[in-house]
Amino acid sequence: MRQMLGRLVHDKAALVAALYLLAVVVVALVAPLIVDASLMRSNLRLRHLPPLHFDHGWWYVLGGDALGRSMLARLVVAARTTLAISFATVSLSLVIGAAIGLVAGLSNAWWSTAIMRAIDVLMSIPSLLLAMVVLFVIGASPPVVVMILTVTRIPIFARTARGQALEIRERPFVSASRVMGASSLHLLVRHMAPLALPTLFSVAALEFAQVMLAESTLTFLGIGVQPPDVTWGLMVSDGQRYLATAWWSALWPGLVIASIALAATILGNWFQVANDPVLRARSARKSRVPAAESKVASNA
């Protein structure tokens, strides 16, 4: 852990990304404390108040939306829902997908292939359409959005996990474990999962952004999260109607989504590199552990 932190400090871009994400998470957590309920009420006088003016207090520095609510306050409140949805989706699909993939990767049995074929089928359905159908049936609320997005994201994790499992299970320490009489569960918990996780985590970081995008696209198509819940995706989708008259109403949430995606991607890439001694050695000016030295310096 300390080692990882040390490596993080060495990579400036990753450090900035991590701090940014941390800040956003903190803001999301304390949102109810700092945002006054009155800021979330409509105030039609301040409808589409232009940004970068301080006449109405610093909450209105990013302008007002179509109901005259503070853009900034809404961004802060939306952070909570957005992050909660993205986080829940990504972690659920990570857990489920990884479990499916690892189990399928551990076994050569027919059902292992069958599971992966089913995942392929799931992947061949355009995820938006799947989402639409389900959201029509059940109606949109954050838990349903999480559920449907989870289903559409599972294949990615399952495939990645299976690929990892197929590779890891051939490694000698797994054989050594088998020689000791280890059960499949032991192999899964002690060897497969811990080794596959770094890769899965970096995939998760990239997925985080994709989930936010998917969520906002659902909202654009009119089937995403509904008011009074608010997410950045909802704000972009609401704001895009006023592109010509109040450009800021879609710009800020769009920028926030893109910047979070950027930060998550940078962090995900960094995480992958930081966890892989080979990649780490390759990426210039990044840290290498001492034991790897001899490998690089000699004939390997």
Partner: protein
């Protein structure tokens, strides 16, 4: 080698296909002198004349390709002749229509009584499921007989005082039209005839040189379809289109090109009057007092909308101007709710505010309304539903398990008569009515059978009654924003919601 060759061939074929998709059969960007482009929201699913009251279909064919028997004059609200020159009553249950002589269909066949009857029968064929039949004529038992080549008698079992109005919904197509399927190539008598329907892309029509009436200025029309309102507005601004009958209010920013018109639609909040707490009149009144109708104009709703007190436009027969507006009085609303609470009404029960997605005002209008209702002390939650789900709440039969709800709905009556509205919205048998009141029912029935001026009197009474019962919260008469390009002049009317008569368009 063989493989490589095959790959190359495949690539070539793909490129060729792409070229076909890309380049050919495309309307030129630059406009011909007398050609215009109309950009609409949705492509029609069919162009069948018997569907011409469907908005998408009507915008293209109604009075352009296919003409109706009669036509409503939007200025006067009266029925004007179109394919029928005149009409009169023979007895209580029979109307006689005289058709215009010398009119020919685009395929050269003459317009006559037989063609009228054939077109009407085709419309009434249950296997075709024409919306006109279901909407206006189902169960009426209309019977048509030819008196002579240009005269038709229309008989109904019951007296039907508004038959000339109904005939404005009936288009007459060529007798050669396929009787068994809905057609995509309508052949009518109108000033324009269909040239091409490139599915998914555009519909093209051109001037009918043999038109019986005045020769219109526009020679060629291309209809294209864009779902995004901002894109429609941009197309007219960019000169890619000449008119967009509907643009979003927030895009209607250019006074030179953008015109708003009352589109004959009225919006209201329908109360689930049978379920607590909405079964209590104090609660219903409180809702009406709690809504700041003025503040929502120009903010969440278009500034050109007009506050309404009846569910029909003032030009409609039966409109009661004596009904008062509900004033904005939040204190009174709170007091009424408190009073109801004291009387044991479960005012804290959750009420759903049900909104169809894509309805005017977006998500913002209901958000504001909920804030207002919460201020009054009610517990309201927003539920935005996609059409099919919305209809489950909107139409009868209402499911048993449906929670108490307030439904935001929009109603269109451009028939000139309040009868449709009163039946649909307030009669116990009305398809979207929540009201079940014996007195209102019998009044409506009496009114439907009556002719003017008694008919109008009775309808005005009903409107007063439902207002006093606070059956709903009537909100606004809607307007539509139209963007008209600089090359042409056109004056939108309420009918522009249903039809766009190209012959009314003139070049500057």
């Amino acid at each position: 080698m063989a493989n490589r060759l095959r790959t190359r061939q495949a690539l070539g074929a793909t490129l060729l296909a792409s070229a076909v998709v890309l380049g050919f059969g495309a309307p030129a960007l630059a406009q011909q002198n007398d050609a215009i482009t109309v950009v609409q929201e949705q492509e029609p699913d069919t162009l069948d004349p018997c569907e011409l009251t469907k908005k998408n279909v009507g915008m293209v064919i109604r009075e352009n390709i296919v003409e109706t028997v009669t036509e409503i004059n939007q200025q006067t609200g009266k029925v004007d002749p179109r394919l029928a020159e005149s009409w009169s009553t023979i007895d209580d249950t029979t109307w006689r229509f005289k058709l215009r002589p010398g009119v020919k269909f685009h395929d050269g066949k003459p317009l006559n009584a037989a063609a009228f009857i054939q077109a009407f029968k085709r419309m009434m064929d249950p296997n075709l499921s024409c919306s006109n039949r279901v909407l206006y004529f189902e169960g009426m038992g209309v019977d048509l007989t030819a008196v002579d080549d240009l005269t038709v008698d229309v008989k109904t079992p019951q007296p039907s005082p508004i038959m000339p109005v109904l005939m404005s919904m009936v288009g007459i197509e060529s007798p050669a039209t396929d009787a068994h399927t809905l057609v995509r190539n309508p052949v009518g008598t109108g000033p324009y005839r269909l040239v091409e329907w490139a599915s998914g892309r555009s519909i093209t029509t051109e001037r009918n040189p043999d038109y019986w009436g005045e020769k219109p200025q526009v020679g060629k029309v291309t209809y294209v379809f864009r779902e995004e309102p901002a894109v429609r507005a941009a197309m007219v601004a960019n000169g890619e289109a000449d008119i967009s009958p509907v643009i979003a209010p927030q895009d209607a920013t250019n006074k030179d090109t953008d015109h708003s018109y009352l589109n004959s639609e009225t919006v209201r909040l329908r109360f689930d009057i049978g379920k607590p707490p909405l079964d209590d009149i104090r609660v219903r009144e409180a809702i009406n007092y709690a809504l700041d109708r003025q503040a929502m104009l120009g903010t969440v709703f278009s500034a050109s909308w007009q506050p309404a007190k009846n569910m029909v436009m003032p030009t409609i027969n039966g409109y009661n101007d004596a009904v008062p507006f509900w004033p904005y009085d939040p204190d009174k609303a709170r007091a009424l709710i408190a009073e109801a609470r004291a009387a044991g009404v479960p005012v804290d029960n959750e009420i759903l505010l049900i909104v169809n997605n894509g309805s005017p005002g977006g998500t913002e209008a209901p958000t504001v309304m909920i804030e207002m209702l919460k201020d009054a002390g009610l517990n309201v939650r927003l539920q935005i539903l996609e059409s099919a789900e919305f209809y489950k709440f909107f139409y009868k039969p209402f499911g048993d398990g449906q929670p108490a709800n307030i439904l935001f709905e929009s109603h269109d009556n451009n028939s000139g008569d309040a009868g449709f509205t009163l039946v649909g919205k307030y009669a116990s048998w009305g398809g979207t009515s929540k009201l079940n009141d014996a007195e209102v029912d019998s009044e409506i029935k009496r009114g439907l059978a009556a002719t003017d001026p008694e008919r109008g009197e009775i309808f005005r009474d009903v409107f007063k009654k439902v207002h006093d019962m606070a059956v709903d919260a009537v909100l606004y008469h809607q307007t539509t924003d139209t963007r008209i390009g600089p090359r042409i002049t056109y004056t939108p009317t309420a009918a522009t919601n249903q039809e766009l008569q190209i012959s009314q368009i003139q070049f500057k």
